[in-house]
């Protein structure tokens, strides 16, 4: 999606990541990060028109994990709020759609996770087909290994890196969005989301060409990810960066890859790209988020120092 009726900008963000948080619960983890992001533009929760978060119960180990986390927000008087059981980047895409309506001008998007509490490799197995694949407990790193081998077998890559252990980290990210003039009021350096879209692929690994990322390419086309001078990629295993570079048509631009905490990492890449554009380190950047085994679902956002003129043709 691009050429929005109402241009949306990232006006602030904050992130926290640690290998394993020893003492704080999710409310205590989120509260300072949300306050940091809102404080950068002088807002409080009550100034926010729409709040949306991303997280997964299975990373916390109990149902309704997001319900407790809402206590960090200060949802009083009651707020317009929603939650996706997805990476926070997808929640950001939803917020961009909501901001196209007239009734809200600002949004808060946050994501949190504490995968260090459990065995992430094993937990991710239950994302697979529950009848035919999950009962075999193939772990996340093993599936990534299949993908790396498929890339080697394809002969399309000079060298494909070994698959390291799955990155495990706890953390959270908060992003503040605002529309048009409201964004310009809040900061001198709004970073405009000129396009954002996401696509999914089939779950059965056998029906996919694992040595390419079709969904990233489709999302990038729809989001208008051309002419970028930096890339912020959500890369869970190093070989996936090669597939993403291909799918995004990158050639020589600086690429900043990171895994981040599961469910947070994608939103964090968008926040990092926005920071770089705001700081003048990039003029137009592409940010990427992924979900599911072997890059099954991918989101692409294009961030620009300049807003696309309202009503511009597709």
């Amino acid at each position: 999606m691009r050429n929005f009726k109402r241009p949306v900008a990232i006006v602030a963000s904050a992130s926290f990541e640690t290998p394993s948080e020893p003492s704080r619960n999710e409310v205590e983890l989120l509260l300072p990060v949300i306050h940091d992001a809102l404080g950068q533009v002088g807002l409080t929760q009550q100034d926010i028109g729409f709040t949306v978060s991303g997280s997964s119960d299975y990373l916390q180990g109990f149902p309704f994990a997001f319900v407790g986390a809402l206590d960090a927000v200060g949802a009083w008087p009651p707020i317009r709020e929603s939650h996706l059981e997805m990476d926070g980047a997808f929640a950001l895409a939803e917020a961009v759609a909501v901001l196209q309506h007239g009734h809200v001008d600002t949004a808060l998007v946050y994501a949190f996770a504490r995968p260090s509490r459990g065995d992430l490799d094993r937990t991710l197995s239950i994302q697979l087909d529950p009848y035919s694949v999950a009962p075999l407990w193939p772990d996340a790193r093993g599936l990534a290994g299949l993908q790396a081998q498929a890339m080697r077998d394809s002969g399309r890559f000079d060298s494909v890196p070994e698959v390291p252990p799955t990155h495990v980290a706890d953390g959270c990210t908060a992003v503040v969005l605002a529309v048009g003039d409201r964004a310009r009021e809040l900061t001198k350096t709004p970073v405009w989301i000129t396009g954002i879209d996401h696509r999914i692929e089939a779950p059965a690994l056998g029906v996919r060409d694992l040595a390419t990322s079709v969904s990233t390419r489709l999302a990038a086309e729809s989001a208008g990810a051309t002419d970028v001078d930096a890339a912020y990629l959500h890369v869970l295993y190093p070989h996936q960066e090669l597939l993403l570079r291909d799918a995004l048509g990158l050639n020589g631009q600086p690429v900043h890859s990171s895994a981040g905490p599961m469910m947070v990492g994608g939103l964090e890449r968008i926040a990092a790209a926005a920071k770089a554009v705001a700081a003048g380190d990039a003029r137009r950047a592409v940010a990427h988020a992924t979900s599911g085994p072997c890059l099954q679902q991918n989101l692409v956002a294009v961030l620009d120092a300049t807003a696309v003129l309202e009503g511009a043709a597709a």
């Binding site: 999606m1 149902p63 407790g68 008087p77 895409a93 939803e94 969904s215 679902q297």
Partner: protein, 385 residues
């Protein structure tokens, strides 16, 4: 500012305690294909798929949208997954509406489901966190004290919950998809059913069902060529408040009142009891009907039970509530809110069959979840607004 959106297709599965004749994917496809048939569309016509359900632990599948992508025709398309506790069926409908009203997509398939028989839902809800004591058994253990507080606050007679239970079970007899069918239901039968969480009796609670409910949303152009009448969405709203908040009112939650005000304002409703022809609201325990009558502004505070007592909320009353039989008759948790939204749409489309409310032109769909803290609502009408 927003583009018009219509419900052009609705599909439901037969709700039952165990749907062992289908897989999870098969269950969703049963609802989705019925919704597509109703809309006169095929999978290829759909731009994006949104699914909603309650906790993943109910089926033991983490982020099931990943596994469901091809079964729901989403390969190569955007796919989102909403989870807002019991309100999820409603908030998924609201979020999907945004995808069309924002201009992002023209035709969106929305499917909500729960297949509790695949796992052990009671176990999933009762994971005891360390250090936390734990003296509550099931959702009834949480909501029964709230109901007792309402009864005291409103000076409501004891038999109001019984009357709601009978009314919804009678309505369910006219709904081919309903899970519970109790043809001999009577006040005596409900009164004599076992007391579970005093003041909640067994027949005043909802069942636990497998099932899915799907809708197809379309923009104005796409709605033009569809074979059946559309339901036009006149307003959508969501509100959330904290669970553990000092000073929040769990009996008559602020979030519910604000959500109703917001959706009525969008739909141009000034007197809900006069302007709305029927409503499908989330009533998992029978006493929640009079409580929500007050929260939704159909009755003054303390007077909701009178609408039950005088028959106003019955199928032939002036404000029919849950003509489908409601959550008390079918409860596929993650889909229960979507069922409310979909049934409201069927009413204004004139397609509710044997439980069609005569002349329904404006209807409310309502869902709530968590500790009565998450609310989602929409108003649908037979004419665009």
């Amino acid at each position: 500012m927003s583009n018009r959106v219509a419900v052009v297709g609705v599909g439901q599965t037969k709700y039952a305690a165990k749907r062992q004749d289908v897989s999870i994917a098969g269950l969703l496809r049963e609802a989705a294909t019925r919704a597509l048939d109703d809309a006169g569309m095929t999978w290829a016509d759909i731009d994006a798929v949104v699914i909603g359900k309650a906790p993943d632990m109910f089926e033991g599948v983490m982020m099931p949208e990943l596994y469901l992508a091809d079964a729901l025709g989403a390969v190569g398309k955007p796919m989102l997954r909403v989870h807002t506790a019991g309100s999820v069926g409603g908030s998924t409908g609201v979020m999907a509406t945004h995808l069309v009203s924002s201009g992002a997509h023209k035709r969106v398939l929305v499917v909500c489901f729960e297949k509790q028989s695949e796992s052990n839902a009671t176990w999933a809800l009762s994971i005891r966190l360390p250090f936390t004591g734990g003296s509550v058994t099931g959702a009834g253990g949480f909501f029964a004290p709230v109901i007792r507080a309402y009864m005291r606050r409103a000076n409501a007679p004891d038999d109001i919950g019984i009357k709601v239970a009978v009314k919804d079970r009678l309505n369910a007899l006219n709904n081919p998809y309903a899970h519970l069918k109790l043809p001999d239901i009577s006040e005596e039968m409900v009164r004599e059913s076992p007391m579970l969480w005093d003041p909640i009796r067994y027949l005043e609670t909802c069942p636990s069902s497998d099932g899915a409910c799907a809708i197809v949303l379309a923009d104005e152009d796409s709605a033009k060529g569809t074979p059946n009448p559309p339901a036009w969405i006149h307003g959508t709203a969501v509100r959330s408040e904290p669970t553990m908040g000092a000073g929040r009112d769990v009996v008559n939650p602020h979030a519910g009142r604000d959500c109703a005000k917001d959706v009525y304002a969008q739909a141009g409703i000034t007197d809900p009891r006069r302007d709305i022809d029927c409503a499908e609201i989330y009533v998992p325990f029978s006493w929640y009907e009079p409580m929500w009558m007050e929260n939704l502004g159909f009755a003054a505070e303390g007077e909701g039970w009178k609408m039950v007592d005088d028959g106003s909320t019955s199928f032939t009353g002036d404000m029919p509530i849950n003509p489908s039989g409601g959550v008390l008759s079918s409860n596929p948790i993650g889909a229960s809110g979507m069922c409310r939204f979909a049934e409201a749409a069927l009413q204004v489309r004139g397609m509710a069959g044997d439980h069609q409310v005569d002349g329904a032109r404006t209807a409310l769909g309502h869902a709530y979840g968590g500790g009565a803290q998450f609310f989602a609502m929409w108003i649908v009408g037979s004419e665009p607004r």
